[in-house]
Symmetry: C2
């Protein structure tokens, strides 16, 4: 069995073919996400027409919350064309079409093949420009009443310090995301246009300078030696924001593992998060790991779900 897998993100659309073991068996094609609804529909329609004969099912991993029928997006997503929730995915092909939220799909890929394989209960955080969440309870994706469960908008403060893209204040996403790191760095350094690249460059410089210590000190301990840099201070505060969120999630879900994925996850010291988290939680020992199914985990997970693998 094979799935045509299509990942619709805020900036890029990817597609490929995935087999039922989760292996990518064709070239991964990539193009920018158009700005309008009609153009997006046209691009998706062309991808389907070009490749559907190679697949048994069509699997979409998309930005935005996906309904419990796995047929479309509910509500607006902020970073994709207005009207996108009206997209009629099902009629793009005469074959079976299955749609899932990208973070949920990626969590399923980890559950079947990756860092949370063999775990009945897991929480995955996708740390990118924003923060996505995919939660697996008792070997099933937790979807909630409408399909929107797993939104990481619980608050880190209750006294209105930082506005989130959702319009509310102090959501976890506003701190733990790449955007959150930039804002924290701007707050601490008073450099308004600081980028994550600036911060990560400085972090990497400190890690390079302290390389000789790596057998005796952890990555985070080495970074605390570089705290004279405001960039490093911002990075460590960002990492602690992620820790604070993970503590709450571990107490709520008592998961086997919390998986960190997404472009920002590679910078996080997961050993530090795991150690500090387990000092605080009132539930039982919880692992913290990096995701292992790679950049195309959304497509792989959506494909596996569409083919019924693990359900």
């Amino acid at each position: 069995m094979r799935a045509l897998a299509i990942d619709v993100g805020g900036t890029k659309i990817y597609n490929t073919i995935v087999d039922e073991t989760g292996k990518i068996v064709a070239e991964v094609e990539k193009q920018p996400t158009p700005k309008t609804f009609d153009e997006i529909r046209e691009v998706l329609s062309e991808i389907v027409k070009k490749h559907e004969d190679k697949a048994d099912v069509i699997a979409f991993a998309t930005a935005g919350a996906v309904n419990n029928e796995n047929t479309g997006v509910i509500g607006s997503t902020g970073n994709i064309a207005a009207g996108y929730p009206d997209m009629d995915f099902v009629n793009l092909s005469s074959k079976k079409v299955f749609v899932e939220n990208d973070a949920n799909a990626a969590a399923w890929a980890e559950h079947i093949l990756g860092a949370s394989k063999g775990c009945a209960n897991s929480v995955m955080l996708t740390l990118g420009t924003g923060v996505g969440g995919g939660i697996i309870v008792d070997n099933k994706l937790m979807k909630g009443k409408s399909g929107a469960a797993g939104e990481m908008h619980f608050k880190l403060y209750r006294d209105k310090r930082r506005k989130c893209t959702c319009g509310a204040y102090d959501c976890f996403e506003a701190y733990a995301s790449g955007t959150g790191l930039m804002t924290t760095a701007a707050d601490i350094t008073n450099v308004p246009n600081v980028t994550t690249y600036d911060v990560i460059s400085e972090v990497n410089a400190v890690l390079e300078q302290t390389k000789a210590l790596q057998s005796e000190k952890t990555k985070t301990e080495r970074l605390t030696l570089g705290l004279s840099s405001k960039y490093v201070e911002a990075f460590l505060r960002w990492q602690d924001d992620i820790l604070i969120g993970c503590i709450g999630l571990a107490d709520l879900f008592d998961p086997d593992v919390i998986v960190l994925s997404g472009s920002m996850a590679e910078f996080v010291d997961v050993e530090y998060i795991q150690k500090e988290l387990n000092k605080e939680i009132v539930t039982t020992f919880t692992e913290v790991k990096k995701a292992s199914t790679g950049n195309y985990s959304g497509m792989i997970g959506a494909a596996l779900l569409a083919m019924g693998i693990g359900l």
Copy 2:
């Protein structure tokens, strides 16, 4: 079918008989919880001996996280005798013995008979001296890897303001509980020995004074007219702490309903919580309701679970 239901709390032990419709069909007996492990075991053993012939199963609702086998308590509970996790519930009777956490059991009673009846997904908060949680996902109690899921120790601040009974700082429980209300009131009034009774008396006085306005103003709007009282200020801050927690839970779980139960829930303006919550969340409309199965919901829920009702 009938269950001998026994509720083991930090201060009281209750017992009664519950039938398979969730009806209490015998007198509710009550006694103080003894201070030592051996005395507690003796009390439980006597209750079982006295009443087990009237029941098909023995159902315990207890303080503390209960394992996934529903046979005993894991970890320490703080407000009950040391060694309590070693209690061998199963051997107290030759009949089937079933154990569940009291908040989980109460959530099941609401799910089968009460405020969340007919809802596949719900979150229940038990607001008492502490805060308990019982979460139902897809018509099943969410237990996590060890049975401890649903602990309400996510943080409301990240800058260490108030110590929680769990040893960490700024957990939801430390703010939203009755103890949390007292601490908030002490902080605001600078009266160190202020009680929840003092606060609630003042709140009731303001509600009485503003009774004429009740057709045009909500309970919370009337209370804001009494904000010259520091006690009322503390109450409204406490209510907003509950709101902040509920927003995070609604975004994480996308539940049909959030149910507030426990001795402190009766003072909460749930219409206010529901209205403000739905202005902020990124998921879909979520109801907020008070629990409706009464003071013995823990025993009722444990009995229903022990008899397999709804499973």
